[in-house]
């Protein structure tokens, strides 16, 4: 058989494409459920860790159901859209591309030992790719209880450090509203002159050297996401009861 003929070459290429495509498609679809399950549990794990509950992936589901008492999908005006499930219907990466009126904003309400926390998912852009995370607010809906960040492809040792515990811990205790009640978010700052983040009223945390753009991405992501929750966060408990 002539291995250099056009017919053989085309035939070989076609057969190869068919075989490779079916092997990959078979693998992908047979592993899909396992992979989706991992992603789902990791999301629960991340949400839980913002309120200080550390768990492995296996235990995440039970604890999530125990502590998260409400999962709300908010409209831009702060009212609740009952038709949308906050956890499974909203994929933030797609959701942020819609305009504010059609977007639904997920928020999780957790109850741990009598205390209530509000957990807001974040999504934004780092240097190379997407960054995302969760931020938990105390009962006053102002002080940060905890934060978790993750990223797709930030530089290891630089931008990727936002996923380190020491960086996420810096956000604890910071406040998102200033004295006059305006939303200011938290800036990742290179000039705050507070390397140990002792000052918790400056709305700033110390930046990471060499990760300026990732840090700015974190700041922008926090303020951009939080502004959509303003009407919910500022509402009094009575308003909330009315809206519900």
């Amino acid at each position: 058989m002539n291995r250099d003929s056009n017919g053989y070459t085309f035939g070989f290429a076609a057969a190869m494409v068919l075989v490779v495509a079916s092997v990959l498609a078979f693998t992908a679809s047979s592993l899909k459920d396992l992979q989706a399950e991992n992603v789902r549990k990791e999301k629960m794990q991340n949400i839980l860790s913002t309120i200080g509950i550390e768990t492995d992936r296996e235990g995440a589901e039970k604890l999530f159901n125990d502590y998260i008492v409400e999962q709300l999908a908010l409209r831009n005006d702060g009212s609740v859209d009952e038709t949308v499930d906050a956890f499974s219907d909203i994929e933030l990466a797609r959701e942020v591309k819609k305009d504010a009126e059609t977007q639904r904003f997920p928020i999780y309400v957790a109850s741990v030992d009598e205390a209530t926390y509000y957990i807001i998912p974040l999504y934004g852009a780092g240097l190379w790719n997407a960054i995302w995370g969760y931020i938990a607010l105390d009962e006053d809906r102002n002080t940060i209880k905890g934060a978790v960040f993750d990223h797709q492809g930030e530089t290891a040792g630089l931008g990727a450090e936002i996923t380190q515990q020491w960086f996420m811990d810096r956000f604890v205790g910071e406040k998102i509203f200033d004295m006059s009640g305006d939303l200011v978010g938290i800036r990742v700052s290179k000039t705050n002159n507070d390397p140990n983040d002792i000052d918790k009223d400056d709305h700033e945390v110390d930046a990471i050297s060499g990760a300026t753009i990732t840090g700015d991405g974190v700041s922008d992501m926090i303020i951009e996401r939080l502004q959509h929750y303003l009407s919910y966060l500022k509402a009094t408990p009575a308003d909330l009861a009315y809206n519900n």
Binding site: D4, F12, T27, A28, L34, Q35, N38, T155, L158, S209
Partner: protein
């Protein structure tokens, strides 16, 4: 990207007169040479790009090494099995398809069964496709040699690549962040005396310089690599 040395198929064909032992001297050489005398990074100068990108810390370097070993061994074996059927004119495309599907397969399996490892690797796994060593060895060796020899060649070269990766990552993590494998090794007392981590070590230029120093030391040590005149 560096090109393989020659476009011709390698001239060595092993005609099996009598059964060669599995680990004959020649076969051991296939496994051992890439670690020093014929190291893919420092001697063949393949795979430099990824050696710069993922050597900031030891851990990703180690995981990358293991994945490259798996991908290279598997794709070398597959291409070697198909070597008499692959049409010459599209052989590069065929090699690329084999490597790419191996990489996707590894990625998918990791994502299902070792989710944390796959998160660690994220983009690095995709980078294996662009690693010149993989394609280089397929083109230069697997296309002309038997399955077992190709397997050894794949493992050997991947290990040689990984060895350099880990060596560079060792120095970069040690001097760049004062840690090894994520654990702090430079004691706090030294920092208090005024020692500072060298931030430049975390950036790619220092990877190139570290690699340059390694090549220098290796050439000074290994007589076979000293060029005549």
């Amino acid at each position: 990207m560096s090109k393989p040395k020659s476009n011709k198929k390698p001239a060595i064909f092993f005609v099996a007169k009598e059964r060669e032992p599995l680990f004959s001297k020649k076969n051991r050489g296939l496994l051992k040479d890439p670690l020093d005398d014929n190291n893919p990074i420092t001697v063949q100068v393949l795979g430099i790009c990824s050696a710069l990108a993922i050597t900031v810390q030891l851990k990703p370097a180690v995981v990358m090494t293991l994945s490259v070993i798996a991908v290279m061994a598997a794709s070398n074996v597959i291409v070697s099995l198909l070597r008499n059927a692959i049409p010459n004119r599209i052989r590069i495309i065929v090699q690329l398809v084999v490597v790419a599907s191996m990489v996707i397969l590894v990625d998918q399996v990791l994502r299902a069964y070792a989710y944390d490892v796959s998160k660690q690797l994220s983009i690095f796994i995709g980078l294996i496709i662009t690693n010149c060593i993989v394609m280089g060895r397929l083109e230069a060796f697997a296309l002309g040699n038997g399955v077992w020899k190709s397997f050894l060649d794949g493992v050997g070269n991947a290990a040689g690549y990984g060895f350099m990766l880990i060596l560079v990552a060792f120095f970069r993590e040690l001097f760049g962040s004062g840690k090894l494998y994520g654990y702090q090794v430079i004691p706090d007392s030294i920092y208090e005396m005024g020692y500072e981590n060298n931030g430049l070590m975390l950036l790619s230029p220092m990877a190139l310089i570290t690699l340059g120093i390694i090549i220098w030391v290796q050439r000074a040590r290994n007589r076979k690599l000293i060029e005549k005149n």
